[in-house]
């Protein structure tokens, strides 16, 4: 009997292993922070002081927690898109570009029609954001499904195209008229009408986008596990040949997975404009507008084990980490390069932990299969279901 079988043969140990696995991203984050602590020590900063400042900055006050939630909104939305894409076995690295296109389209509409009731414009803008992101995500989907173009490459390239379009639009047709006349020519649009701003939930910057994102997370869960479309997307993700044999249009569902994924990122872009900045602004880079949410959302989804509901707290935790890290830099006055390194460490550790989590899960399934040999078929399938969940 192998070592792994010995370890998991005891039911209590097996349960512990399953719980340990589900907390793997949190352990990974702690491990990353521990490594970060070594950097802090090298910089003559006390890690306990620094991490206290991080926690304080992220969750230490009402306003800090609100800031964390504001940061979590785009992470959650992009994360939800990542969950859908992942379940369809496609990888969407184009969140940044999809956010940009969604934001551009919704901002353009918001600036073009200034006399609509707020609720109507917000609804239209959300649809525009969704549409923009969906188109930008759907295109790589079509390329993947019908021309076998690697979607990782195409989505990344679409990011680069979106940035150039954004820079052209914000410095050209959509530039703030004030900036167009000023020497500074900052690449930003005019401000949206007051009525078009997403309502705030409390007297902080937290806006209604949080509630929308949480409702959408539940909807994504229902979509993936309680609807035919979700079943088909997952079937395509699990085994394309089997799905095809079962009569599912594989190509269509690959496109749909990326299209839906892009739609969520597009909505995230819209919310950054209508909920946070009230105008679109950049420093010429994608990050200048998105704050890296297009990439960090993927990490948040991995943090949430690619499950839409777990991605909710995962986004809040990861958002808190980002907000808290900036606060830590302000309080402890460490170089910002450390904050970048810390974020990078968390990403590397969390992504790596996903590998270990899956490996451990595979071992458990293999063990149950081997244990089930000789049992009646009903019992075997129940055992497998338990492990896979």
């Amino acid at each position: 009997m192998s070592q792994s079988k010995k370890l998991t043969s005891h039911p209590a140990k097996k349960r512990f292993a399953a719980v340990f696995d589900s907390f793997m991203p949190i352990f990974a984050t702690i491990a990353a922070l521990l490594v970060g602590a070594i950097f802090l020590l090298l910089l003559d900063a006390n890690p306990i002081t620094a991490y206290s400042a991080l926690l304080e900055g992220a969750f230490g006050s009402f306003n800090a927690f609100a800031e964390t939630l504001v940061k979590a909104i785009p992470l959650l939305l992009v994360g939800l898109g990542t969950c859908i894409a992942y379940r369809g076995s496609v990888t969407n690295i184009g969140g940044e570009g999809q956010m940009i296109v969604g934001a551009l389209l919704s901002t353009w509409i918001g600036l073009s029609f200034t006399n609509l009731p707020g609720w109507l414009m917000i609804t239209i803008a959300m649809l525009a954001g969704i549409l923009g992101g969906a188109v930008w995500g759907g295109l790589p989907g079509v390329l993947k499904a019908y021309f076998n173009v690697n979607e990782i490459l195409s989505t990344v390239m679409m990011n680069a195209i979106a940035v150039q379009i954004m820079n052209y639009m914000l410095r050209g047709p959509m530039i703030d008229p004030v900036q167009a006349e000023a020497a500074s020519q900052i690449p930003q649009t005019a401000r949206l009408e007051m009525a078009y701003r997403l309502p705030r939930l409390v007297p902080t910057r937290l806006h209604i986008g949080l509630l929308i994102a949480i409702i959408l997370a539940v909807m994504v869960y229902v979509l993936l596990w309680r609807t035919t479309l979700g079943y088909r997307i997952r079937a395509v993700g699990q085994n394309q040949s089997a799905a095809k044999y079962g009569g599912i249009d594989v190509k269509k569902h690959i496109v749909l997975a990326l299209l839906l994924s892009g739609a969520f990122a597009g909505l995230a872009g819209m919310m950054q404009v209508y909920g946070v900045n009230y105008r679109m602004i950049t420093d010429g880079s994608a990050t200048g507008f998105t704050g890296n949410a297009g990439f960090n959302g993927i990490v948040a989804a991995l943090f949430g084990q690619l499950h839409p509901l777990i991605t909710i707290p995962a986004s809040i935790l990861f958002g808190g980490l980002l907000v808290g890290a900036n606060s830590m830099q302000r309080i402890v006055q460490v170089p910002s390069a450390l904050i970048t390194a810390l974020n990078g460490l968390v990403v590397v550790f969390v992504v790596s932990s996903e590998y270990f989590r899956r490996r451990s899960q595979r071992k458990r399934i293999a063990f149950i299969e081997s244990e089930d040999e000789g049992k009646p078929p009903k019992e075997r399938s129940e055992g497998l279901g338990e492990a896979a969940s």
Binding site: I48, A50, N167, R171
Partner: protein, 333 residues
């Protein structure tokens, strides 16, 4: 699994032990009464040692601290705040912590200042580079007349080029970068309109590799003099150094990075403007003023590398142009 837990535990214990033995870094203190040192917070879009825009404000604060004494002036900073949203959070946080003056050192921070300043009427907000104070009583604006230094650099570049091709690497066509580059091109053309000034805006303030690429392209096209603005030019300076092409800098003194090729740098001395902002605060004026760093008021200085043999005629011409701009006998188109 056991090994993983052991590893985590070991790491945790090690770090906590070492942390316990370390003196705690002093956290930022809460604001005190008015006889306390002047407390300034700075938010910059790039790192404070970028040899460019952010470094210029860092150098200024260091100079002022030296001048006033550490006990009289304290400053903290948030660097690399290229995401406007993060910068806004930092600005608000500093205001809440009761800092006396907050320098939003990036023209992209205007919306944030406009949003936050009314909530903190006793805090001085200064942002640049711009001229817009939003008509708010606690917002100052500052800018650099970087076209002036750009013009001087351009004149020298035109006198030094042999191939008659000059390459320029810019970020995006905005702010003081655009002003500098336009001034530089005008300076070159004032000497010889036939010189080919090749301007490339790479579309990024941070992409060092792309700036290096742009410089390489200019060098391949025959450029023997290069210049550029913003923090990503480090990549371009590196290429100039490799090729032995002359480099003209702006924002901060870039000589230390490539001593053999940096001819001159237009260096911002924000301390000239900051002194005025500090003094105004003392007299109860919290905002509403616009400041400009010029060659005339010493807010910018052309620092020529003394170790390069440029020829006396080049130095004389540079001096003549600087003086002409100061006494307004030379106007920049």
């Amino acid at each position: 699994m056991k090994n993983t837990i052991k590893l985590f535990s070991l790491l945790l214990i090690t770090v906590l032990l070492v942390a316990g033995c370390t003196q705690a870094a002093p956290p930022v203190e809460e604001p005190e009464v008015s006889d306390q040192p002047l407390r300034v917070a700075i938010v910059t879009p790039s790192s404070m040692n970028d040899l460019a825009f952010s470094q210029s404000i860092s150098d200024a604060m260091q100079a002022l601290q030296k001048e006033m004494g550490e006990g009289k002036l304290e400053y903290v900073y948030s660097e690399n705040m290229f995401v406007v949203d993060d910068a806004a959070a930092a600005i608000r946080s500093y205001a809440q912590q009761g800092f006396d003056i907050i320098l939003a050192h990036g023209s992209q921070y205007g919306s944030s200042v406009q949003e936050i300043a009314p909530d903190f009427p006793n805090t001085v907000f200064a942002w640049g580079t711009t001229v817009d104070t939003f008509d708010m009583p606690n917002v100052h604006a500052y800018e650099a007349a970087s076209d002036e230094g750009g013009f001087v650099n351009g004149v020298m570049a035109a006198l030094l080029t042999e191939t008659k091709v000059i390459g320029v690497v810019g970020p995006i066509e905005t702010g003081d970068a655009k002003l500098y580059i336009d001034g530089f091109a005008a300076g070159v053309k004032s000497v010889d309109p036939e010189i080919d000034v090749r301007v490339t805006y790479i579309g990024s303030f941070s992409d060092v590799a792309l700036a290096a690429e742009a410089a390489t392209t200019h060098l391949s096209a025959g450029a023997d003099v290069l210049t550029g603005s913003a923090q990503m030019v480090i990549g371009a300076i590196g290429k100039a150094k490799e090729a032995g092409a002359y480099w003209f800098g702006t924002q901060a003194d870039q000589t230390s990075f490539a001593h053999d090729v940096v001819v001159a740098s237009q260096v911002y001395h924000w301390e000239v403007l900051l002194r005025e902002i500090f003094a105004l605060r003392q007299s109860g004026v919290l905002g509403g003023e616009t400041f400009a760093a010029t060659l005339d008021n010493g807010g910018q200085v052309i620092k020529i590398n003394p170790d390069l043999d440029l020829g006396q005629d080049v130095l004389d011409e540079a001096e003549r142009v600087i003086q002409g701009i100061i006494d307004q006998t030379i106007s920049i188109p």
